[in-house]
């Protein structure tokens, strides 16, 4: 049964916004959600309100994925990250719509943000197999020794994404963590979470091994202390936290000497190096 009226009034199938953990899209184990409103105050979605247990599960997933991700060749990581950019490009329209709705930007400003975000992701993809050639070295030590230093990936890094720009700011923080061979748990901006979830869908279709990237939506204020005190998280990008929260994270994070950084400026290989460790090896030279 069809008539022209029903065709004109087609109901769209709305997306359910879920978490992204271990390559799957579960709801919060707590069953909680919260309401997100657009820039005009209208209801937009009920994303999951992630709990500390979701965070714990995400850390387990990120840790299991670590050996495979850091053990892959840098070239292979670069290829996978580039593939994510391909998938992001395919979802441009969805990203743009969400940014317009949430951030209240004009279509052209939203489009510009999305394009910048994708290009920035491509920029970081190209760093994977080049970081070592610039920031590694052979060191002229005294004695018959070959001595070299290589940057090594840190491990599991929690990323507190900045609020705005909702997609671009997230990419600024997440891409360098992955380029350095780490696995990540992103805590998306509470007020502007949709870009993060759409990004997780792009990642979910990009041959990224499950657990390499995990994305939680919810309250940074609630989750930050749990992340800061979690002994199996190696580093934190605290860019999305305010100064009080960051200070508390640094205090709690001292328990396992987490490497904690917060960034104000833009793209730089230093952001990749911030979550890497330098390893120096000595070997005798002799017959």
């Amino acid at each position: 049964m069809s008539n022209s009226k029903s065709r004109a009034m087609r109901l769209d199938v709305k997306k359910t916004y879920k978490l992204f953990i271990g390559g799957a899209f579960p709801r919060s184990e707590s069953g909680r959600t919260y309401q997100v409103a657009d820039s005009k105050g209208e209801f937009i979605a009920n994303p999951s309100l992630a709990s500390r247990k979701d965070l714990r599960d995400a850390v387990v997933a990120a840790r299991s994925a670590r050996a495979g991700w850091s053990g892959a060749t840098a070239f292979n990581r670069g290829q996978i990250l580039y593939r994510i950019a391909e998938m992001m490009e395919g979802r441009s329209a969805q990203f743009v719509d969400e940014i317009i709705a949430l951030e209240g930007l004009t279509p052209s400003a939203a489009k510009k943000q999305v394009e910048e975000a994708i290009d920035l992701w491509v920029w970081y993809s190209g760093w994977c197999d080049k970081i070592g050639s610039i920031y590694g070295s052979t060191n002229a030590v005294s004695g018959s020794f070959y001595n070299f230093t290589i940057p090594d990936s840190l491990g599991v890094v929690a990323v507190f994404a900045p609020a705005k720009p909702s997609l671009l700011g997230l990419v600024h923080s997440l891409a360098p963590v992955l380029a350095g061979g780490n696995t990540a748990i992103v805590i998306a901006s509470e007020k502007y979470p949709l870009s993060a979830i759409t990004l997780s869908e792009a990642i979910g279709t990009s041959d990224v091994p499950g657990g390499v990237v995990n994305i939680l939506t919810g309250s940074a204020a609630e989750l930050a202390p749990w992340a800061a005190s979690h002994m199996d998280i190696d580093g934190i990008d605290a860019t999305g936290l305010n100064s009080t929260q960051e200070k508390e994270v640094r205090i709690a994070g001292a328990d396992n000497l987490k490497r904690i950084s917060s960034f104000k400026d833009g793209a730089s290989p230093q952001r990749v190096l911030a979550f890497m460790e330098n390893k120096t090896v000595w070997h005798p030279i002799g017959v």
Partner: protein, 478 residues
């Protein structure tokens, strides 16, 4: 009953070879002014594959002008945009990988297993890798504000046609140059297919220009005043000629020339893997490899054992139809090259070395040479000094590490060397003393876009690949 492998041919259906090919200039396929052509054949069957446009001086001139026009667009572009074109090219090469592999095998004579598993994947990887450098040059340690040369002329050999094209074009474009490239006379087809890829990637017109021809075409490129830099891979003799030609012109020049690589085997080497490394070092790609391990320097106390194992291993090398997936050694690229190999190998006989060849069934048509080694070779033999560029290995013995180094270095070449031993410190000591640009320890013939490649001494100037390879295409950089 024996386990004979039935023929396992790769299908040719994926490839379309046109009867005639034109030049690729300014983003289009254009006929050469004088309308001359030459043919390219399949060296395994001697059948003609296609007629190829012959570029004369005026055609080269047209290509250079197109490259200059292309430069205007290319240089105004944001570096990240240049990078994205290179990513596109890499992805399309991956998509059309099988097509490239079959075509390369037909035009060059090398086995499909090699084109499929080595040549083509590496070629695509070079574009992928260099795409990432396009917008990071200020970090590359080549100066704060590195500048491209402008239009670069590139001349490549026939031994790894598409791979050599990638080694040239990828860094040149990534650093902001535009190119005029001449593929080798006997292997133009994959370069022309690459031109199609440039069109599919919507690369701006004139950024890449492919001019087919012979040595005279190459000379026209070398001498063209509109070209600011020459990159050449080929024989040392021609390299020297080019060096003389560009002297005083201010043109940048990098050269990747011949070699006579020493593969040094110490007594504690991992035996089976060493034998593989020797076979790979000299018989891979029919020995048509500038960095081939063409001299086996073996510690005398394990020589007999090693050679027995080597003979046994060589008896398993499968020579034949390059399109058969089980073929290990394909055809020699041309009659001319076959004659060179034959002549040099005969000098080994006449100068008193002892020949061993694997027993292979040689097909009736095509150009073939069985895997061969000579023992009793000393430094004075021609086969110890001259590059054969074929599947012929010269075996020389040594007694001490110092002697191995002296013999390895006792050559005007300095491209590559190999060292096989279980002892790490000896690897590093040997690497320290070898005068060679690429040293493989417990492996051989490994290539990667991130690994700089090039030679000492008469093996050339400059490096290709890695951060160091970018310097070749940036003015003012070392």
């Amino acid at each position: 009953m024996t386990f004979e492998y039935s023929s396992a041919p790769e299908s040719k259906a994926i490839v379309t070879i046109d009867p005639v090919y034109k030049l690729f200039i300014g983003g289009k396929f254009v006929a050469p002014k004088a309308g001359k052509t030459f043919t390219t054949i399949n060296p395994a069957t001697e059948e003609v594959l296609a007629k190829i446009a012959y570029a004369e001086k005026s055609d080269v001139d047209k290509a250079v002008k197109a490259a200059q026009e292309g430069l205007k667009v290319w240089s105004k572009m944001a570096p990240s945009e240049r990078g994205k074109y290179l990513y596109r090219i890499a992805r399309i090469m991956q998509e059309r990988a099988r097509e490239f592999a079959v075509l390369e095998t037909m035009d060059n004579g090398k086995p499909i297993r090699e084109t499929r598993d080595v040549d083509i994947p590496l070629a695509a990887a070079h574009f992928f890798y260099h795409a990432g450098w396009a917008d990071k040059l200020e970090h590359a340690g080549v100066g704060d504000n590195p500048k491209p040369y402008g239009v670069v002329g590139q001349i490549i050999p026939w031994n790894f046609p598409l791979l050599m094209l990638s080694w040239k074009i990828a860094p040149a474009l990534a650093t902001g140059n535009t190119v005029v490239l001449k593929p080798a006379e006997t292997t133009p087809l994959t370069a022309l297919l690459f031109a199609q890829v440039c069109q599919q990637a919507e690369l701006p017109a004139g950024v890449v220009n492919i001019v087919t021809g012979d040595g005279a075409t190459g000379a026209a490129i070398v001498n063209h005043p509109g070209i600011n830099k020459i990159a050449f891979t080929g024989s040392t003799d021609v390299g020297k000629l080019i060096a003389r030609s560009v002297a005083g012109t201010g043109k940048g020049l990098t050269l990747e020339l011949g070699g006579k690589g020493a593969n040094i085997v110490f007594e504690d080497a991992p035996m089976d893997e060493t034998v593989e490394g020797i076979v790979n070092g000299i018989f891979f790609n029919q020995g048509h490899v500038c960095c081939a391990g063409s001299r086996l320097l073996v510690q005398e106390n394990i020589q007999d054992e090693l050679l027995e194992k080597l003979k046994r291993r060589m008896s398993q090398i499968r020579l034949g139809d390059p399109l058969d997936k089980n073929t290990d050694i394909g055809a020699i690229n041309s009659r001319e090259q076959l004659e060179k190999i034959t002549e040099l190998a005969i000098s080994g006989d006449t100068e008193g070395a002892e020949r061993f060849s694997a027993a292979c069934t040689i097909p009736a048509k095509g150009f073939w040479y069985p895997p061969t080694f000579f023992t009793g070779v000393t430094q004075a033999h021609r086969i110890a000094r001259e590059e054969i560029f074929g599947p012929v290995l010269s075996v020389i013995s040594f007694r001490t590490p110092q002697e191995a180094i002296e013999k390895a270095n006792n050559t005007p070449f300095g491209l590559s060397a190999g060292v096989w031993t279980d002892k790490g410190s000896r690897i590093l000591w040997t690497a320290k003393h070898l005068r060679a640009g690429v040293i493989w320890a417990n492996t051989f013939n490994k290539f990667d876009p991130a690994s700089p490649f090039g030679g000492y001494k008469e093996s050339g100037w400059g490096r290709e690949g890695g951060r160091h390879g970018l310097a070749a295409y940036l003015k003012g950089a070392k």
